[in-house]
Symmetry: C2
């Protein structure tokens, strides 16, 4: 088996993992810890200012494994859909400005008041098709992230890697998938769909599913603290041809967000080496 | 469209929906409300005594749409698997004694300490194959219930109707599926898999997914309070040939379990007529 120790070069830190930090703190904190890749959410990029963020990132020679996030395509009316598309184009531009390897897309769930999941899924497809030309022009690949089915109503109606792969088949060049262990680990079709995604895997997110999950959104586990066979999933994405980073994305209101972000980074590095 | 009003004859009440009630209270409460079908969990059947439960049910001419639940097949060692199989055989016997139309199976998740979901799934298959002869002899159909993927770790590693259908293909006569709206509503493959299940649909459970779900287990919604298009799912199961009851199963620690069970029944009847 390949020696995974000291491969700090393959770890990326999603800003949600160290939520208390600003973009400057994220960049500088990662640099101090010997980590050379980050994936910020738009809020901290915008708070920093996109141009300043780009300069900070370049100054520290940080790889940006993704910008989180575009998406949220479905809306109750045409005006809402157009507003979402405009915002997604801005997200593409921000991703281009900071040199992100892709724009992560959380595609959105049911419009307010709707129970029509099939329609929401059609709206996602239409939104992606409408966004794609701008993304291609900006050379920002769109990474469709299937979210766990427990988010189908409110966050993403793309809930399996199969669905994301189907969308990629239709979209063609410029679209790919983000594989997040938290969202896909349960899928009986996982091995086949990861192999099918192949070189379309634009991002790989790691974290863990806690047996005692207490909150649907903000109780993700640190790698090794839960039940996901992370080495097995990583072997699948690498066998599919993925050679990129393992991006640590942990939303954890009652545990990791309450700790010192520097300590969180140290644990991420240790767990990345030991169990990812 | 078919007139669904006054079809009280097609509603069944799962004992979890009126958790404060004993079996006698469930039978008598439903009879008072003009409901002629129930689906008890084993705890209240055992608390009542199986023979007395059978007499109560016959005396009130109640249909038993299912006994909840067998399953929980995977275990960390052979002794644990044998104990689970023994318990499942007793569950089959109890189902036969009370005249249940099927035994609902929540198949179980990862054995303690395991991260091997594929192995858990193999154990489920092996457990089902081992249980089937006894179930056939007792003429109790086994209803494999796919559970929402958020229960893959701790309750059921059969998480899609496709998996349950695959198991039925392998098991043959005596095995079928239970379709629960809460568990399957998000599935992009739902229409196809319900059609595929066809006459193998042994039970149909209704409830709702709340947008503001606060607990992974005990915050299910009353039909109409959430986002599931219940009429659409019912149309699918009926198109597949299902002619049985709509069984209301709502686990709701902070809402419906705190109310008077008689009131809960009235709401179930009203919602069943209006939105199911």
């Amino acid at each position: 088996m390949r020696d995974l120790s000291n491969d700090r070069s393959l770890i990326s830190i999603n800003s949600m993992t160290v939520k208390p930090w600003s973009l400057a703190e994220l960049v500088e904190g990662c640099a101090r810890a010997g980590i050379s890749a980050i994936s910020p959410w738009r809020d901290i990029v915008q708070a920093c200012g996109v141009e300043r963020a780009a300069r900070l990132i370049r100054a520290h020679d940080m790889t940006v494994t993704g910008l989180c996030r575009g998406g949220m395509f479905p809306a109750a009316d045409a005006a809402g859909r157009l507003a979402a598309l405009d915002d997604n184009r801005r997200a593409v531009d921000e991703a281009a400005a900071i040199g992100a390897q892709c724009l992560i897309l959380v595609v959105g769930g049911l419009p307010k008041g709707s129970r029509d999941l099939a329609d929401a899924r059609r709206q996602v497809r239409d939104g992606l098709l409408a966004l794609l030309p701008h993304a291609r022009q900006a050379r920002v690949p769109l990474a469709i992230e299937p979210l766990h089915p427990m988010y189908a109503a409110d966050r993403a109606c793309v809930n399996t890697l199969a669905q994301a792969n189907d969308l990629c088949d239709e979209l063609g060049a410029g679209a790919g998938v983000a594989v997040d262990t938290y969202h896909v680990w349960w899928d009986p079709d996982l091995a086949r769909q990861i192999a099918r995604a192949g070189r379309n895997i634009l991002a790989y997110h790691v974290n863990d599913w806690l047996l005692s999950t207490t909150d649907l959104l903000l109780d993700r586990g640190m790698m090794g603290d839960g039940v996901i066979d992370l080495r097995a999933v990583r072997a699948l994405v690498e066998a599919a041809g993925y050679r990129g980073h393992c991006e640590v994305e942990i939303l954890s209101a009652n545990n990791w967000w309450k700790r010192d972000p520097g300590e969180v980074l140290r644990v991420c590095i240790e767990r990345h080496q030991r169990v990812v």
